[in-house]
Amino acid sequence: MMHLFDLLLILGLLSFATLSLTVRDVFTSIVLFISTGLIIALTWARLGAPDIAIAEAAIGAGLTGALLLAAWRRLQPAVTDQRTHCRNGSSSPTGADDERH
């Protein structure tokens, strides 16, 4: 029973990690990375390391995830800029980005 759970954890961990490193879209990749972090936290709780599980969930998954998302957002302007250029011609509203003008 325990072994089955272990195998599931390891399989889940490896597949999430692989997915997060191979999926094309960066945003999805970050979200998958955060999920990987949470599974890792679970694994560490399973391995009798609750201290580290809390730390991994809070720092490894939580704060690293927030940092990655923040950086991802900041890398966006170039994209929205192109969109703005397009919009100058076609004037199609694109939601929240309107405030940028």
């Binding site: 191979t22 094309r24 879209d25 960066v26 990749s29 609750p50 201290d51 580290i52 599980a53 809390i54 730390a55 809070a58 720092i59 939580g62 704060l63 927030a66 940092l67 923040a70 950086a71 957002r73 900041r74 890398l75 966006q76 302007p77 170039a78 994209v79 800029d81 929240a96 405030e99 940028r100």
Partner: protein
């Protein structure tokens, strides 16, 4: 930035060779581990013998704050170093005309109220983790991270905390954590004659004091770093 260029760094042949090499390394390492698997060595017994002299009952906290406190001090120095550098780079961030992301994220009322309710809860959780760290899972790093997350959440809802590293109080908080370790280490050198050697009688309270300083400092360092990465973060 869509990762269509994800695989372009290395030609396919190089990638397959690399993959084969890495699998080979993996097999060697796995084999080495397999042979080592029976010889179970650990420091558990040593830690448990000395635990009564450490001032806390959570062995992980004992290792972090007492037996290997030097590591922890240097680790806080790493955080400090990153916070200072990130602050410097954020300061240098000039707004290329018209391109500055005006950070008025449309904040949903739900997120706002969630933040309002969650922030005090997170601060409480952080204090609890700090307090309980002496006996049970928890401690300065977890508490600091939770506190920093409260700040991050507040930031997302548009009510950011102060984070300018040129602010004197912020700078004091930044150095507080590493400083607490260093000052206590040097003070112990004067009092007991040994660097980082806490007298057993008041090691517990001393460690709690250091941990409190470290928690605040960790939270501020993480938050300042986060704000430097966040779009338009370091300016209100």
């Amino acid at each position: 930035m869509n990762a269509t260029d994800a695989n372009s760094a290395v030609p396919p042949l190089g990638r397959s060779l690399l993959a084969i090499a890495l699998v080979g390394i993996g097999l060697v390492l796995g084999w080495a581990l397999w042979h080592q698997a029976n010889a179970q060595a650990s420091l558990t017994a040593t830690v448990m013998t000395e635990l009564p002299n450490s001032g806390v009952t959570n062995p992980v906290t004992a290792v972090l704050l007492n037996f290997r406190a030097f590591d922890t001090m240097l680790e806080l120095a790493v955080l400090l170093l990153v916070a200072v550098t990130a602050g410097m780079l954020g300061e240098r961030r000039t707004a290329p005309a018209g391109e500055r992301p005006a950070e008025t994220v449309s904040v949903s009322p739900l997120l706002l109220s969630l933040t309002r309710d969650l922030t005090p809860v997170m601060i409480l959780v952080s204090a609890y983790l700090l307090w309980v760290g002496a006996k049970e899972p928890g401690g300065a790093f977890q508490a600091g991270a939770v506190l920093a997350s409260a700040g991050v959440l507040a930031h997302f809802s548009g009510r950011s905390w102060r984070s300018d590293h040129r602010d004197t109080s912020i700078r004091m908080l930044l150095v507080l954590g590493t400083g607490a370790f260093l000052i206590s280490a040097l003070a112990m050198l004067g009092v007991t004659g040994t660097y980082f050697d806490y007298p057993v009688a008041w090691a517990g309270i001393w460690i709690l004091a250091i941990e409190t300083a470290a928690t605040l400092s960790i939270a501020v360092m993480l938050y300042v770093t986060f704000c430097a990465v966040m779009p338009g973060g370091d300016r209100p």
